[in-house]
Amino acid sequence: MAGLELLSDQGYRVDGRRAGELRKIQARMGVFAQADGSAYIEQGNTKALAVVYGPHEIRGSRARALPDRALVNCQYSSATFSTGERKRRPHGDRKSCEMGLQLRQTFEAAILTQLHPRSQIDIYVQADGGTYAACVNAATLAVLDAGIPMRDFVCACSAGFVDGTALADLSHVEEAAGGPQLALALLPASGQIALLEMDARLHEDHLERVLEAAAQAARDVHTLLDRVVRQHVREASILLGD
């Protein structure tokens, strides 16, 4: 669209947010009774649903079993109605595979896999207009819901760079505009980075600022998710009684 400016002179973005503001996040844990752990998250218009099964015995080929760690298996799928044009995506296509691989790298860093040797943990994520950040946040909540031990939360956020300002938590319009986009997954308590991904061109001088904006946004996401989890645990604890 001609004349659409991503960042106005007063510092407002297309949807009225400031540069470092997040979209509205709503999350729920324990949405499916059949799965070991499940969670649903809405970040603006992006919705992600994550389901976790495990740890359980390795199905399929026994040869894949690791003797000292658990195997983490992630699958990502995108709903047909999630983009402007209704398109059926086959399960094995490149984007799903790549996303699945990235999720797997992220969660292998966070889950304490040495505690469950020879077992398998399955994480299935389905996202609407799928961005990596929403998937990771949903999967974190689902893994927590399943009671699988993790080092810390994994909070993710995307960031971009427009007109010399770093923008946090990109919406679809901002992503489509084609500027550089960075996806960051962080373990907030220790500040360790689980995954950092960017596939665009960004000048080295700006990297520091964009990274900092993404990190701050991820910490904000952590505050929100933390609140959701504490509320859930408190409620379950009250119902169970002392």
């Binding site: 077992s119 933390d226 989890v229 645990v233 408190r234 379950a236 009250i238 169970l240």
Partner: protein, 324 residues
Amino acid sequence: MAMEMRLPVARKPLSERLGRDTKKHLVVPGDTITTDTGFMRGHGTYMGEEKLIASVAGSVERVNKLICVKALKTRYIGEVGDIVVGRITEVQQKRWKVETNSRLDSVLLLSSMNLPGGELRRRSAEDELAMRGFLQEGDLISAEVQAVFSDGAVSLHTRSLKYGKDVDLSCPARTRHGFAPSSTHLLTYPEAHISQLGQGVLVQVSPSLVKRQKTHFHDLPCGASVILGNNGFIWIYPTPEHKEEEAGGFIANLEPVSLADREVISRLRNCIISLVTQRMMLYDTSILYCYEASLPHQIKDILKPEIMEEIVMETRQRLLEQEG
């Protein structure tokens, strides 16, 4: 034909209505539990930079010098002497692999199983070849935990005559996960889908909701019996009129179950589901009280959220009165 329509409506969370708060110390992963290094770390914690950090979301439990975090929901962790209900997933050379909702499949050794007829002898090669005749993939068994291996896998035995094979009414034969939720009160699987006429219903719940008790086999006065497996698998079956002493329970009783018994079993199953949804501990008294509280309602209405809350509130009330 009458149709029922339900619209979504926001409901208050039940914990508010209970009006009480928890006194426990609740943590989420990444929280520091303590910086005192004098404590031993138990499950659900790990040591990072001189601090004890939680790795699951749950409540902190402290026993003298041991600190552990008990997660809200975990897979079953076996302990010697537990009663479990499991499903056979594989037939291997001298043992069966049993799925018991735990991190690894449990094993049932051929030597840990009673032979039909109750004979005591060394298992021969013919016994190995005949393994499939006793238990095949998809069969349900009740057993006791004999030992726990170092990686957490559990070894079972069915040495006492009260353990044995059950036939699952709610599961079409030879499928692995036989739990199919049904909100109608008649078990509607036609006989043609089941190769053996069945005798009970399996309900899968979280293991943390099954209370540890002295006995897990209960004959409820309403006319059905229930086995509360520690692993969260609950088996509901009609009370047999006479206890069969021989054959160790491996010959399944294949007579059709009467409608009255089926209704009792369906009602019990729905009651257990509603107790689990409201996070109440499952034991014979709570299940019985819930059953009695649900009698005024139709069986299929029990699963509706508002009726579920009402019934479970009444159950809670009765249990509190009984204790206090």
